[in-house]
Amino acid sequence: MYRFFYLLPIIFLWGCSSVSPWERGTLAKSEMRLDVAPLQSSLRSHQYGSREAASGGGQSGGGGCGCY
C-alpha cells in the first residue's frame, strides 16, 4: 500500500487550490488536456509496447497482442 503514499501531496494540494469559474478559460483549452491527441498516444503506446517490457499505466486497458 506504500505505493499510494505519493498521491498524498496531491491530496494536500486539494485544499490550496481555488480557481473561480471565470478563471478557467486557460484550463479549458484543448492543449491543457492530459492527453491532447488520444489517437496518436494509442499508436505510440502500441509501438512502445511492442518494443519495451514495461507497458500500461493508462486507465482500464485491454487489447490484443499485435506483437511483431
Binding site: 496531491i10 518494443r51 486497458g61
Partner: protein, 833 residues
C-alpha cells in the same frame, strides 16, 4: 450543463472557453463530446547489425489505421466506437548466439552483384568450440587456429504479412459530478485472439478542481501459433533433445487490471495527475516465435591441443514464468506558459514487475500555438529498463548434449533471449504539426525517431551493442468535431438542401456531385468489403478440378485453386471547393486482403518441398495468405457541366498515384525464397492510373435517378514489379425513393468490363494456380445493388449521412479461370459543411 455549450453561438472564443470550463470537469481527459477521427500510422525498424552477414531481409514494418467515433445517444449518455487494424511484415530476431557459431546462414541470389537473400535462421550447430573458461572460440577455416570471440549476434527470421483487427465499444453516463464508462472489445489475428471488458469512472470534488479516476479491466487471450517453417527443424524437444514433435503452440492467458488516479487543478494554468495501476497475469506469456540457444559443453572431456573444448548449440522454445504481476506509477503535469502561448506536458512513469524488471519513462511535450489554428509540438522521451531475472543471451549448460545423458533439470526453469527483456535504454524525439480549421476540422501529422541501445540504460549493465536498433514512426490524423459542425451549420439551408439531394445516391457510387459553394468541405469515410468464393469458373461455366489442372495454368499445370478471397478497403474522401465550379478531392486508401487455397484433385504430384522451391510454395499455400497496408491514393477534380435546379451533369478527372505496394513477397520457407505473392493480393496497381467519370443526376418529387460512366486507364506499360492490371470501363444507373425526409432506398445496376493482366513479375515467382497467370484476371460483370440511405435533417447530428449498399453479382463472365464473386458491401458516412 451541455446546453450551456450549445447555447453559445457567438464566435467569442473567451466565452466559449469559459462555457466549456463550467461545463466540463477540468481534470478529465475528455475531448469533444461528439467527434469522428481517423488516423494512419507507419512504423519501421532500421536494419539490424548482423556483423559478417549481410541480410537481404527487410526490417519489420507496420501499417496501422484507427478510427474513433464518439456520439451522444441522449443528454447524458455517450457511445464511443474504436476500430484498429495493423498489418506488419519483415524480419525480427528469433534468437541470439555467439557470432563465432554463425547463426545467420546466407543464400546467394546474385554473387556478381553480391546480393544475398535473407539469412536463414540457423539455430543448430553440432560442432562449435569453447575455451576452458567456456568462452566461444572462432576457428579460422584456413589455419584451423582458434581465437576467443565473445561477440553476440541476433539470428533473424522474416514473416509474411499478418493483420490484426480490433474493435471496441464503450458506453458512458455523465452525472453532474461523476461519470461511469463500461466497455468491451475483441482483437483478432492469425495466431492470437483476445477479448476484454473494462469499467471506469470519475468522481469530481471541490468545484470540479479535483477528480478521482478509477478503472478495472479483464482480458482473456489465446495463442494458437504454428512455428516458423525455417526454424522448426532446428528446435529441440526439452525432454528428449530430439526434434520438437509438435509445431503448434497453444496457450491461454488471463489478465486482471485495476487503476486509481487523482487529478488536481493547481491554479488557473496548471494541473497534475498521479495514478497507480496493477495488473496480474496468468497463463502462457512466452513468444512462440522466440527461441533461446543452449550451449552444451561436456565438462568431462579432455581439452584439445589448441585449448579447445567441443560443444554443441541447440535451440529451444523460450520459457517464461506463467504468472506476472505488474505495477505502474504515473505522474503527469501540465503547465500553460502564457508568455509563449504554449503548454508544457511532463510525464513520468515508474514500472516494476515480479520478473525483476524496473523501468523509468520520462517524456516531455511542448505544445506551441502559432496562431491561425496552427500548433507545433516538439517531443522528447527517454526510457530505461533493467533485464528480467531470466533474460540471458544464451544458456550455458555443463553436460554433454546427447539424448542419453541430457538432463533437462540442469537447465534453468525459465530463460529468454528476447531483447525486449534485456537491459537497455531508448531515446526518442519527434515533432507533431496540427492545424485546426474554424469549422471543427483538425488535421495532424507527426513523426518520431526512436533509438534503442544497451549503452542508453540508466547506470551500467546494458546489453551489448549487437542488440541496438533504431526506427521511426509517422502518423497522419484527421478529426471532425461534430458538435462544432452542427453549430456552424444550424442556419445553413443550402447545405440542408444539398444533404437532402445527396441522400439519394447509393453508397457505392463516387464522383457523383460537385460541392455547391466556394469554401465548402466534405469528408467521407468509405468502407468496402468484397468477397469471392465457390467453384472456379471458366468464362460463365462452372468447371471441374481436372479442367482447372489441365487448362487453368497454360502452358503449365495447376496444383492449387483459390477457395476464398476477400478484401476490406477503408477510404477517406476529402473534398474541398476552392471555387463554386470546381471541387478537388483527395482519396487515400487503406486495405487488407485475405486468401485461402486448396489442393486440386488430379493435380500433378507435388515436388519435394525440402528440395524443390515449387514444392515448398505448393505446401505453403495451405496457410492462409494475408496482406494489408496503404493502397493507391486518388486525386481528382470535379466540374459541373450542367447545373439546373433538379438536374446535374458533372465530370470528374483524376489520377491514382501508386502508393500501394505492388511488390509484396512471401516469406522464405523451407530455406526457399518463395518470391512474389499472387497478383490479386498486391495492395496497389503499381502504375499511375487515369480515372475519368461522367455523372448525371435528376430529382423528380420523391424520386431520384442517376447514371454514371467511369473508367480506369493505366498510364504505364508495366509497374516496378513487371506487370500491369487491365483497364476498366464501368456503366451504372440507379433510382431511389425518399420514404421520409431522412430515409431513402435505392436500386442500381452495374456493368463492368476489365481487361486481363499483362506482363509478369520480374523476379522469383512460383506459379501454382490460375491466380498466378495474367490471363485469368478481368472479365465482364453485371451486378444489382440494393441500398439504404439515412441523412440527419436536424438535431445535433444534422448534416451527417450514412448509407449502405449491397452489390449482388448476377452475371460473371470471367477471363480465363477465376473464382466467382459473392458480392460486395459498401458503407459510407459523409458530412458536408
Amino acid at each position: 450543463m451541455v446546453e450551456a455549450v450549445v447555447a453559445v453561438t457567438k464566435k467569442n472564443s473567451l466565452a466559449l472557453l469559459i462555457a466549456a470550463a463550467l461545463a466540463l470537469p477540468l481534470t478529465t481527459t475528455y475531448a469533444s463530446e461528439e467527434e469522428a477521427s481517423f488516423q494512419y500510422g507507419h512504423y519501421e525498424d532500421g536494419a539490424r547489425n548482423l556483423f559478417n552477414a549481410q541480410s537481404g531481409f527487410k526490417p519489420i514494418q507496420v501499417d496501422s489505421i484507427q478510427t474513433n467515433t464518439k456520439l451522444k445517444l441522449a443528454d447524458r449518455v455517450r457511445l464511443a466506437f474504436n476500430y484498429t487494424q495493423d498489418t506488419w511484415s519483415g524480419a525480427t530476431p528469433v534468437t541470439t548466439a555467439p557470432l563465432a557459431f554463425a547463426g545467420n546462414r546466407q543464400r546467394v541470389i546474385d554473387a556478381k552483384k553480391n546480393i544475398l537473400s535473407g539469412a536463414s535462421p540457423y539455430l543448430q550447430n553440432d560442432a562449435v568450440y569453447v575455451d576452458s573458461q567456456f568462452n566461444p572460440l572462432q576457428q579460422d577455416l584456413k589455419t584451423a587456429k582458434f581465437t576467443k570471440n565473445n561477440q553476440l549476434v541476433h539470428t533473424l527470421s522474416t514473416a509474411s504479412p499478418e493483420t490484426r483487427k480490433q474493435g471496441d465499444l464503450r458506453f458512458g453516463y455523465d452525472w453532474d459530478e461523476a461519470s461511469l464508462d463500461i466497455g468491451a472489445g475483441t482483437s483478432a489475428e492469425n495466431d492470437y485472439n483476445s477479448s476484454f471488458g473494462n469499467i471506469g469512472g470519475r468522481l469530481d470534488f471541490n468545484q470540479k478542481l479535483t477528480s478521482v479516476n478509477f478503472g478495472a479491466s479483464y482480458t482473456a487471450s489465446e495463442t494458437d501459433a504454428t512455428l516458423d517453417h525455417d526454424a522448426f527443424d532446428y528446435i529441440k524437444d526439452l525432454k528428449t533433445l530430439g526434434k520438437l514433435k509438435n509445431k503448434f503452440v497453444k496457450g491461454q492467458k488471463k489478465d486482471w487490471s485495476g487503476s486509481l488516479g487523482l487529478t488536481q487543478v493547481l491554479n488557473k494554468a496548471a494541473l497534475v495527475e498521479g495514478s497507480v495501476s496493477y495488473t496480474v497475469s496468468n497463463g502462457y506469456m512466452a513468444n512462440p516465435y522466440k527461441t533461446t540457444a543452449i550451449l552444451f559443453v561436456d565438462p568431462m572431456q579432455k581439452i584439445g591441443k589448441n585449448g579447445e573444448l567441443n560443444a554443441k548449440m541447440f535451440a529451444f522454445l523460450e520459457q517464461r514464468p506463467d504468472e506476472r504481476q505488474q505495477w505502474t506509477e504515473n505522474l503527469r503535469y501540465v503547465q500553460h506558459v502564457a508568455r509563449f502561448d504554449a503548454s508544457l506536458h511532463l510525464d513520468y512513469r515508474f514500472y516494476h514487475d515480479d520478473w525483476g524488471i524496473q523501468a523509468h519513462t520520462i517524456s516531455s511535450d511542448w505544445i506551441q500555438s502559432l496562431g491561425d489554428g496552427w500548433s507545433i509540438t516538439p517531443r522528447v522521451r527517454y526510457y530505461s529498463q533493467n533485464a528480467a531475472d531470466f533474460y540471458t543471451p544464451y544458456v550455458l549448460t555443463k553436460q554433454a548434449g546427447n539424448k542419453t545423458t541430457f538432463d533437462s533439470k540442469l537447465l534453468p526453469q525459465n530463460y529468454s533471449s528476447d531483447y525486449r527483456l534485456s537491459g537497455y535504454g531508448a531515446l526518442s524525439g519527434g515533432l507533431t504539426v496540427t492545424k485546426k480549421f474554424a469549422k471543427g476540422l483538425e488535421l495532424q501529422a507527426g513523426a518520431e525517431y526512436y533509438t534503442h541501445a544497451g549503452a542508453l540504460k540508466l547506470g551500467s549493465g546494458g546489453e551489448g551493442n549487437y542488440a541496438d536498433f533504431d526506427g521511426y514512426l509517422v502518423n497522419a490524423a484527421l478529426k471532425v468535431d461534430l458538435a462544432t459542425l452542427s453549430m456552424a451549420n444550424s442556419n445553413h439551408t443550402e447545405h440542408s438542401h444539398h444533404a437532402h439531394h445527396r441522400a439519394s445516391v447509393p453508397a457505392g457510387v463516387m464522383f457523383d456531385h460537385v460541392l455547391p459553394n466556394a469554401g465548402d468541405v466534405m469528408i467521407s469515410y468509405r468502407y468496402m468489403y468484397a468477397n469471392q468464393a465457390g467453384t472456379t469458373q471458366n468464362r460463365t461455366n462452372v468447371i471441374s478440378d481436372a479442367t482447372i489442372v489441365n487448362n487453368g495454368c497454360e502452358p503449365r499445370k495447376c496444383f492449387v485453386t483459390p477457395d476464398e478471397m476477400s478484401m476490406n478497403m477503408h477510404m477517406l474522401d476529402l473534398m474541398y471547393a476552392p471555387t463554386d465550379w470546381l471541387t478537388l478531392m483527395l482519396m487515400p486508401q487503406f486495405m487488407d486482403m485475405h486468401m485461402t487455397m486448396r489442393a486440386l484433385n488430379g493435380a500433378p504430384p507435388t515436388p519435394n518441398m525440402m528440395t524443390d522451391a515449387l514444392g515448398a510454395a505448393i505446401v505453403h499455400s495451405a496457410h492462409e495468405h494475408t496482406t494489408g497496408g496503404i493502397g493507391d491514393t486518388g486525386m481528382y477534380a470535379l466540374f459541373n457541366l450542367l447545373k439546373l435546379s433538379n438536374q446535374q451533369l458533372n465530370i470528374s478527372l483524376g489520377v491514382t498515384a501508386p502508393t500501394g505496394d505492388s511488390g509484396i513477397q512471401l516469406r522464405d520457407t523451407h530455406k526457399f525464397d518463395l518470391g512474389f505473392i499472387h497478383y490479386g493480393m498486391q495492395l496497389g496497381s503499381g502504375t499511375w492510373d487515369f480515372k475519368p467519370a461522367l455523372t448525371y443526376t435528376v430529382n423528380v418529387d420523391d424520386w431520384s435517378f442517376g447514371a454514371q460512366l467511369n473508367g480506369t486507364k493505366r498510364l504505364e506499360s508495366h509497374n516496378k514489379a513487371g506487370f500491369v492490371l487491365g483497364d476498366i470501363f464501368q456503366a451504372t444507373g440507379w433510382g431511389s425513393y425518399n420514404w421520409t425526409n431522412w430515409l431513402a432506398a435505392s436500386v442500381r445496376g452495374v456493368y463492368t468490363l476489365q481487361g486481363s493482366l499483362q506482363g509478369a513479375y520480374r523476379g522469383v515467382y512460383h506459379q501454382i494456380g490460375a491466380m498466378d497467370y495474367g490471363q485469368n484476371y478481368g472479365g465482364r460483370f453485371v451486378d444489382v445493388g440494393f441500398g439504404i440511405n439515412a441523412s440527419m435533417p436536424n438535431g445535433s447530428l444534422q448534416g451527417n449521412r450514412l448509407s449502405f449498399e449491397w452489390l449482388q453479382p448476377v452475371h460473371d463472365d470471367v477471363n480465363g479461370y477465376q473464382l466467382p464473386r459473392e458480392g460486395a458491401l459498401s458503407a459510407t458516412w459523409s458530412y458536408a459543411f
